[in-house]
């Protein structure tokens, strides 16, 4: 770029680069400040400054947690687990064909099928499971089914996206070798593609299951079953010690599921 001058002087960046850099940072800061201003137009700062007292008050009401309340939580906990597990199964089941349709190297048609698969993926990924649950409760009524379907719908995009990226990263030479034996399309997928993506598939599924456990703890807030129903009830009666108990149960479940998921992923990879 620069011709070596007679009197070389080392510079970290050219003046133009550093100017551009400072300009970028300046805009970022200015933009953030403007956003902050707009966001807090309606913020009542009295409430904010009041927060430490509120926090202390809530904290005080939370302790001691209502230990005995745990007996009301076993059933919702079981429901929560089922929502997460069955929802993950449902999502994975639909995600597999979508992933194969979205991957450039396995899609039946790059022009028609692939955009459709990508649209399914982005719609599913953009909309949080709680919103899906909100919709589904309105449509098919409150209960576990709404929760399972909500978790399933949200999982399709997540699993399919990671899976199709894994499919696109496979070693094409192995595919070519199987194709050269005269194998059909289905056989190529079975013998050359599936073995290569299987570890990724299990890893992704278990990872999503772990996330889904977390998500399904709150679906009850909108009526889709599980611990969230108890949480909602306790919150609306301001029974903070029960809320604390629910938090402890959620924390325990999340820690255990994370441990299980880490173990399984270790085993398959």
């Amino acid at each position: 770029m620069n011709h070596p001058s007679l009197n070389p002087q080392w510079q970290y960046r050219t003046p133009k680069q550093s100017l551009l850099r400072w300009f970028g940072w300046f805009w970022l800061v200015a933009f953030t400040v403007v956003c902050w201003q707009i966001m807090n137009e309606n913020t009542i700062w009295a409430f904010v400054s009041d927060a430490p007292q509120q926090a202390a008050d809530i904290g005080g009401r939370m302790f001691p947690p209502a230990w005995g309340y745990i007996n009301n939580l076993w059933q919702p906990l079981w429901d929560t687990l089922n929502i997460a597990t069955l929802g993950t199964l449902l999502g994975v089941l639909f995600a597999i064909p979508v992933a194969f349709m979205a991957a450039t190297n396995t899609t039946p048609s790059v022009r028609f099928v692939r955009p459709l698969a990508l649209l399914i993926i982005v719609s599913s990924r953009s909309i949080n499971s709680l919103i899906w649950a909100l919709l589904l409760v309105a449509i098919i009524g409150p209960g576990l089914l709404a929760g399972i379907v909500a978790i399933g719908l949200r999982s399709i995009g997540f699993v399919a996206k990671l899976l199709y990226e894994a499919i696109e990263e496979i070693d094409e030479k192995q595919v070519e070798a199987i194709r050269a034996t005269g194998a059909s399309g289905a056989q190529v997928i079975d013998y050359a593609v599936v073995p290569q993506i299987l570890p990724a598939f299990w890893g992704i599924s278990v990872f999503r299951w772990d996330i889904n456990i977390r998500e399904s703890t709150i679906l009850g807030l909108v009526g889709a079953g599980g611990l969230g129903i108890q949480l909602n009830a306790s919150l609306s009666t301001l029974a903070w010690n029960q809320v604390a108990m629910i938090f402890i149960v959620i924390l325990g479940t999340v820690v255990i599921s994370e441990w299980v998921s880490a173990k399984v992923r270790q085993a398959v990879l």
Binding site: L28, F31, T32, C35, W36, I38, M39, N40, N42, T43, I44, F47, V48, A51, Q54, A55, I58, W78, D79, L81, N82, T85, L86, V122, S123, R125, S126, I127, N128, L130, I131, L134, L135, A138, I139, I140, G141, G143, L144, L145, I148, R214, E215, T217, I218, L221, V222, L231, L235, F247, I250, L251, V254, V255, A267, V268
Partner: protein, 272 residues
């Protein structure tokens, strides 16, 4: 020499050995356990088929609303919600990054002393264990309704996400580069600045953009519990069975996520 000379007969049966769970007993136990769980779990679903049947008509109306969305009649609500969501996303992502960097460095085993390491890991675990919505509920109770509580929620969640991944990235750093800089007699700050920063910077930018995307999507949810943003608008629309307005909100969310994803891949290429 191996060859056809020997009149050896070869076996005509072969079964693939199991890939996972090679122990036959545990294999059976685990498969059976899985099956029993599945049956029990499916039995807990109580479906009121009549309600579902009635709901199908509503579902169809939702599909119609999604296909023919109504942007106009609730536009003021949508606009206000969207503005809150977007500003919340920007501020919380920036604040989250600012806090995440020191915590991420503190949570990297190869850079931080043990007590700092444990403290930072503790913060990360707490932040990651709870769903954003639960944090939002607590913060709304403390700070009142509105986007400020949402901002805090998202910033808090960003810390757990970014610090953890940043710490892992730092721990995966090429050790020889760190040693080389340390060998020149560099101080701790200089090691971080010269050996670690260049290695993790591209990844940090990528993760921050990804988190921006997540924060926007989450901002649409925490509104449901009162933490501001477009979620509140959506919640109202669904409660009033205004599926065409709800469809409009969902389409806007999907479109923004698409734009953010597309531009973040562009920015990532530009930064590297």
């Amino acid at each position: 020499m191996p060859g056809k000379s020997t009149a050896h007969t070869y076996p005509r049966h072969w079964k693939r050995p199991p890939l996972l769970l090679t122990h036959p007993f545990w294999r059976k136990v685990i498969l059976l356990g899985g099956l029993v769980y599945l049956i029990l779990a499916i039995q807990t679903i109580e479906v009121d088929w009549q309600r579902v049947y009635l709901g199908l008509e509503r579902g169809w109306r939702f599909v119609q609303g999604f296909l023919v969305p109504d942007f106009t009649s609730r536009w003021n609500d949508i606009y206000a919600g969207l503005l809150e969501s977007l500003t919340m996303t920007v501020t919380s992502t920036v604040a989250g990054i600012l806090v995440s960097v020191p915590i991420g460095i503190g949570a990297a085993r190869n850079l931080a002393p043990a007590p700092v390491y444990l403290a930072c890991r503790g913060i990360i675990t707490v932040s990651r264990s709870f769903q954003e919505v639960i944090i939002a509920i607590l913060l709304v109770a403390m700070f009142g309704f509105g986007p400020f509580a949402g901002f805090l929620t998202l910033a808090f969640a960003t810390i757990g996400f970014l610090s953890k991944l940043l710490a892992e990235e730092i721990e995966d750093c090429d050790r020889s580069q760190i040693e080389a800089v340390r060998a020149t007699g560099a101080s701790w700050w200089q090691v971080v600045n010269y050996a670690v920063q260049p290695q993790v910077m591209p990844r940090l930018v990528g993760l921050s953009l990804y988190r921006f995307d997540i924060n926007f999507r989450e901002s649409a949810v925490i509104g449901i519990v009162g933490a501001g943003g477009i979620g509140a608008t959506l919640n109202t629309a669904i409660d009033r069975y205004e599926y065409d307005s709800a469809g409009a909100v969902l389409i806007i969310i999907i479109a923004i996520v698409l734009v953010v994803e597309y531009s973040s891949s562009y920015i990532r290429r530009w930064v590297q």
